[in-house]
């Protein structure tokens, strides 16, 4: 009965869900990276505040993409309820939602003590007053005392979120492109890579403590370089994995590797160009921060393109 099989892509989860996956992964990775940096490498309140708030913002925007497309917004309550993990332990969205929520909560708590001390937040009307409330202060102090706990709680949920974005796609068995263990790996690597890129931009543009943060920047650059390299290796293996095997996979490969957006946009400008820019930075160094910032921007765009094309190139076989 397979004579009539046709192959189709889907139009259920499209560009907007790619944003969810992208911002979800990047936001979580950003937050996690800054917290771990703060805890173990170099205390850096500014970085934490940036990481926490941009992470939360990205997750907020990303989640709103999913939320906005829900058919019944009220019913979202069922996944916000933590008991969902006991009822639906096999559903990644359940895990993902909880990761996201708790990452935001713990992330906020980890950042709270820094906020209380931050001059910037002290200048924002209304927020200034709220931060001055006694119980907020109290919570802040408690968190400060248990900052490792908060930091780890946030980071674990953050890593969970990052990995979840890949596991989610992996849970759709009909699509060979998605239904393989390479996807969580690829998405995790990519999420951290985009997080590095984002933080490099933050360090270069927002925090601007050039000398003080140099070792950090170098570390991020190197990490990013390695992540990009890993991503290239994973993609390379994807390419060969998709060639042979199920037809769904082969057609996905055809769709991707015949697409200029994927080849030039993502692999070329999103991976190779930043790779070489950063490689040079690592080996020889650049005289200005500009090339690294260009590389970062390219990595950020590439990160989205990866998810966009992944959503678009998932192929279902329909035997009718």
């Amino acid at each position: 009965m397979d004579v009539t099989t046709s192959f189709v892509t889907q139009d259920i989860w499209t560009w907007w869900l790619a944003i969810y996956l992208y911002l979800g992964g990047m936001g979580a990775a950003t937050l996690t990276t800054t917290f771990l940096t703060d805890m173990y490498l170099k205390p850096h309140p500014e970085l934490v505040l940036w990481g926490a708030w941009s992470g939360i913002a990205m997750l907020g925007v990303g989640s709103s993409m999913l939320f906005g497309h829900l058919l019944d917004h009220m019913a979202v309550i069922h996944v916000l309820n933590p008991l969902v993990l006991f009822n639906q332990p096999h559903a990644w969205i359940a895990w993902g939602t909880q990761f996201i929520v708790w990452m935001m909560v713990w992330g906020f708590l980890y950042a709270l003590p820094y906020m209380l001390e931050s001059a910037f937040f002290g200048r924002i009307p209304l927020l200034r007053d709220i931060l001055a409330w006694e119980w907020v202060q109290k919570v802040g102090r408690t968190c400060g005392r248990h900052c490792r706990l908060c930091g780890w709680a946030a980071s674990i949920n953050g890593i969970g979120t990052v990995v979840y974005t890949g596991l989610l796609l992996q849970s759709f068995p009909a699509v060979a492109l998605w239904h393989n263990p390479g996807v969580p790996l690829l998405f995790t690597v990519s999420a951290f890579s985009t997080a590095m890129a984002f933080l490099l931009l933050v360090l270069n543009l927002a925090i601007k403590k050039r000398e003080e943060d140099r070792p950090l920047r170098v570390l991020y650059e190197r990490t990013d370089l390695m992540l990009i390299a890993a991503e290239l290796v994973i993609l390379f293996s994807f390419f060969f994995y998709l060639q042979r095997g199920s037809q769904s996979a082969a057609i996905s490969a055809q769709l991707l590797w015949n697409n200029w957006g994927w080849l030039i946009g993502f692999i070329g400008f999103g991976l190779l160009v930043p790779f070489f820019l950063e490689l040079k930075g690592v080996i020889k160094g650049w005289s200005s921060p500009a090339p690294i910032m260009v590389a970062s921007v390219l990595v950020l765009v590439g990160g989205y393109l990866l998810r966009y094309y992944f959503m678009y190139a998932g192929v279902y076989a329909q035997p009718w």
């Binding site: 009965m1 004579v3 009539t4 189709v8 889907q10 259920i12 989860w13 999913l66 497309h69 829900l70 058919l71 019944d72 917004h73 009220m74 019913a75 979202v76 069922h78 996944v79 969902v84 009822n87 639906q88 096999h90 559903a91 990644w92 969205i93 359940a94 939602t97 989610l168 849970s171 759709f172 068995p173 009909a174 279902y316 076989a317 329909q318 035997p319 009718w320």
Partner: protein
């Protein structure tokens, strides 16, 4: 135990679409936007002068190992002991992960707008749905519980659709399935579907 299943004999499906109409009326599906719980495809196959017109009915397979259910975060998609996979419209938030997970394109969305349209279409007081959700075939559980056949089966003028219980040794469909005369779609995916097809190409030389 009961394990409901459907066998579709492609040799006598005549592409009349009665099943589509019956299902739409029974289950009040949003047909105005071309969404159905069951479709009958009309395919031209064969090459050259060997032309075969195949009518291919499809619907949810009520998989024994349903990926739609395992991805559902709210528990809206669940399975009855008799194997029927259903969506609880009250629990479903409409994330559509299930639709992505289903290899058989069995699921579609019912939006707020569709609920409004549905009232118009099927009657304000008789339209049963109140909330948007993902929707799909439920093997007409509401009828099956009353001892009736699913709407599409009952009306199938080609008697192409047969409904039965695989766990009942006397059920005619059991033998068709056991003997391999009736086979499921894309079984290699491990979904363990419970809609089986009898091929229509065998007779032709």
């Amino acid at each position: 135990m009961t394990r409901y299943a459907m066998v579709i004999d492609l040799n006598t499906c005549v592409g009349c679409n009665a099943c589509m109409a019956a299902c739409a009326a029974e289950n009040q599906t949003p047909v105005w936007k071309n969404s159905w719980r069951t479709y009958v495809h009309d395919k031209e196959i064969g090459t050259g002068e060997d032309i075969h017109r195949r009518f291919f009915p499809r619907l949810c397979n009520h998989c024994s190992n349903p990926p739609c259910m395992s991805v559902c975060p709210t528990g809206a998609t669940y399975q009855l002991d008799n194997g029927i996979v259903q969506v609880d419209e009250d629990l479903c938030m409409g994330c559509q992960a299930c639709a992505m997970a289903c290899p058989y394109a069995a699921r579609f969305e019912v939006t707020y707008g569709d609920v409004r349209e549905g009232r118009e279409f099927f009657g304000e007081h008789t339209y049963r749905r109140r909330r948007p959700s993902v929707d799909k075939c439920n093997f007409c559980a509401q009828r099956v519980l009353e001892g009736r056949e699913p709407a599409c089966v009952e009306t199938c003028v080609g008697s192409a659709r047969q409904f039965g219980d695989l766990d009942n040794p006397d059920d005619p469909i059991r033998q068709m399935v056991a003997s391999g005369t009736a086979r499921p779609l894309m079984a290699y995916l491990g979904t363990e579907p419970n809609v089986y097809y009898i091929d229509d190409l065998k007779r032709r030389g």
